[in-house]
Each structure stands twice: as structure tokens, then as C-alpha cells.
């Protein structure tokens, strides 16, 4: 009888010692992440391309402005102590390239609303939230690294509209042909 009790006790010990193997904290168990913050961000830019017209004169130093501006609407709902900024720029120092030649970011500029045209040779502010969408330092089209003029730093729920006008100055080696690239609108926050 005593042996039976010991055996039962050992069996119970085995069962209970096996139980925590599936408890939270073990890599073999997958739990659901329970996010505790409600936040969302919407960005819409119209149109989705910047066009410079099919036929422009090829003259060294000629300034070519996009046929229409791009209007971007931003709507956000984030934690109260968020920092948000929007940057426009390129992933490398080449803004446009194709059979016509190459337009470096130093010859490409963006006007935000009614401000001045800023060449795309800027940096983002290192102490601010950083963009992660492929923009690289030295190729940001803004002045002082603060992002677009209507900076989002402020209320945690809001919206902003930016009208972006793009232009480039023709370099010496341009020939008739195609030119294309990708402008990145990158939202940065923490």
C-alpha cells in the first residue's frame, strides 16, 4: 500500500513537472501580441506620378517644372507624446535617369506649399524621428532637416495638406530620351 502511494506521488510529480513546459515563456508556444495602443496613419498623394512633359527644350541650365503639383494629405492618430515628420527625397544621389541622361539630386528641387525650392541635398535632423523607407542622408528635399513645412510635431490627432511642386535644372550632358525615377514621401515618427 505504501509503495502504491509513493508511485502515485511520483506520477503526480511527473505530471506537474511536465505542465510548465507549455507555459508562457517557452519558444514552443506561440502567443498573440496584445497591442495596447490604438494608432493609425493615412497618407494619400495625388497624382501618383510627377510628370515633366514629353517635349522640353534641351538647354543647359533650363529649369523644367512638373506639369502639375502633387498634393499629399496626411491624417494621423498616435500616442500623445509622438513626434511625427514627413520627408520627401530620394534613396540615392540620382533623382532621374534614363536614355536622356542623369539628373542628380543636387539639380532636383521641391517647393513645399508656397515656400522656396529646396534642392534635394539635405539631411534629416538626427535628433528627430528618422525615416525608414529608403531615403538616404544628403538626398532630402528640405531645409534644415525638419521635414515638410507643416511639420506634424504637435497634437497627436490631426491632419495636414502639403502641395509639392517639383523641378529640375538641366545639366550639360542631357540628350533627347526618357527620364524616370522615384520620389519617396516618408513619414517618420517614434
Amino acid at each position: 500500500m505504501k509503495r502504491l502511494k509513493v508511485a502515485a506521488l511520483l506520477l503526480m510529480l511527473c505530471l506537474f513537472s511536465a505542465w510548465p513546459a507549455h507555459a508562457a515563456g517557452d519558444a514552443s508556444t506561440t502567443v498573440s501580441l496584445s497591442a495596447t495602443m490604438v494608432s493609425a496613419l493615412t497618407v494619400t498623394c495625388t497624382p501618383s506620378t510627377v510628370n515633366f512633359g514629353a517635349s522640353v527644350p534641351i538647354i543647359n541650365g533650363f529649369v523644367v517644372t512638373a506639369t502639375t503639383p502633387v498634393v499629399c494629405n496626411f491624417t494621423w492618430s498616435t500616442p500623445a507624446n509622438s513626434m511625427l515628420a514627413a520627408y520627401v527625397g530620394f534613396s540615392s544621389n540620382i533623382a532621374l535617369t534614363g536614355t536622356a541622361g542623369t539628373i542628380p539630386t543636387s539639380d532636383f528641387a521641391v517647393q513645399d506649399n508656397s515656400g522656396a525650392f529646396n534642392p534635394c541635398i539635405g539631411n534629416w535632423n538626427i535628433n528627430n524621428a528618422i525615416p525608414g523607407g529608403g531615403l538616404t542622408q544628403g538626398n532630402i528635399c528640405s531645409n534644415g532637416g525638419q521635414g515638410l513645412s507643416n511639420t506634424f510635431e504637435g497634437p497627436n490627432v490631426g491632419s495636414s495638406t502639403e502641395t509639392l511642386t517639383f523641378q529640375f535644372t538641366e545639366p550639360t550632358n542631357l540628350t533627347p530620351g526618357s527620364l524616370s525615377g522615384s520620389v519617396i514621401i516618408d513619414i517618420a515618427y517614434l
Binding site: D26, T30, T44, V50, N81, G133, L135, E153, S182
Partner: protein, 165 residues
Amino acid sequence: MKTIIAILIFISCGFAVEAQQQRLPNGITLSPAIAEAKIKPNQKARGSFTVTNGTLAPVNVIVDPKLAVGKNGNIEMVPLPFNMDVELDSTSARIPPQQTYTFDFTVSGVSQPSALVFNVKAAGAHANYGASVAISIPSYFYLCDGKDCRNKILQSFGVRLSKGN
């Protein structure tokens, strides 16, 4: 004669479609933009974020997972460390107009408080003489085993956040 007219109609329609596509907007809604969640060291957890295409044209999105790290207020986006494993069910999607796509993921190997970032990029339409307008928005998941996760991680980065800012 009929053939020439048909070809002309086909060509003019083709240009019209291209012009219409280039006038269409590029836009997405990302949720959550910022989230914090509890995860125990070496625990495997699943999560998700959604991308909504609120426009009237399909949107192509690609997702790039990174880790945000910081010191003395300087933030960097770095590749995921070898000990952290993030599995996305998909790293790209073509989202139809007015539709929402859910990206599911699992994460494991989080040994310390971490800021996991999914950079979501929506590509614009191609232009022969111009530039596409791409949009990039990050989805932050602040992960740690405790309360006030985001604030603690940002403090460790040397970032000072003030209320209402």
C-alpha cells in the same frame, strides 16, 4: 480604312488609360502605426498590422522589417539581429481599391526590449518622363516584458518625449 480607324482608336484609348492611371492617387492607411506589446524573453508571439487602400486604383506595397536602435538621441534603422526571428506571411501585396490587407507575422528571440519596425512602402505609377511618387510609413511594435514599454525603450535611446508633443 476600317483597320486604320480601329488602330487609331486603340492607340488613343491606350494613351487615355495611361494618362488616367497617372492622375490617380497613391495612398494607404496603416494600422497600428505605433503599438506596444508584452513579450517574455525567448517567447514566440504572433501579431499583425493592416494596410488599407482607400484609393480607386490598386496599390502595390512591400514590407521591410527592421529594428530601431538608438543612443544619445540618435536613432538608426538596422537589419534584424541574427538571434531575432521575424516571419511575415507575405512581404508584398497588391491591394485592390477600397480593400484592406492584413500582414500576419510571428516574432521570437526578443531577448531585451526592442522596437520592431515594419516599413510599408506603396509604389506609385511609372512615368517615362517623370518620377513615381512612393509613400513609406513605418509600423512600430515596441516589445518588452513589462509596462510602459515604449517610453522605456525611447528613454534608453536617449529620446526625450514631452506630453502633448
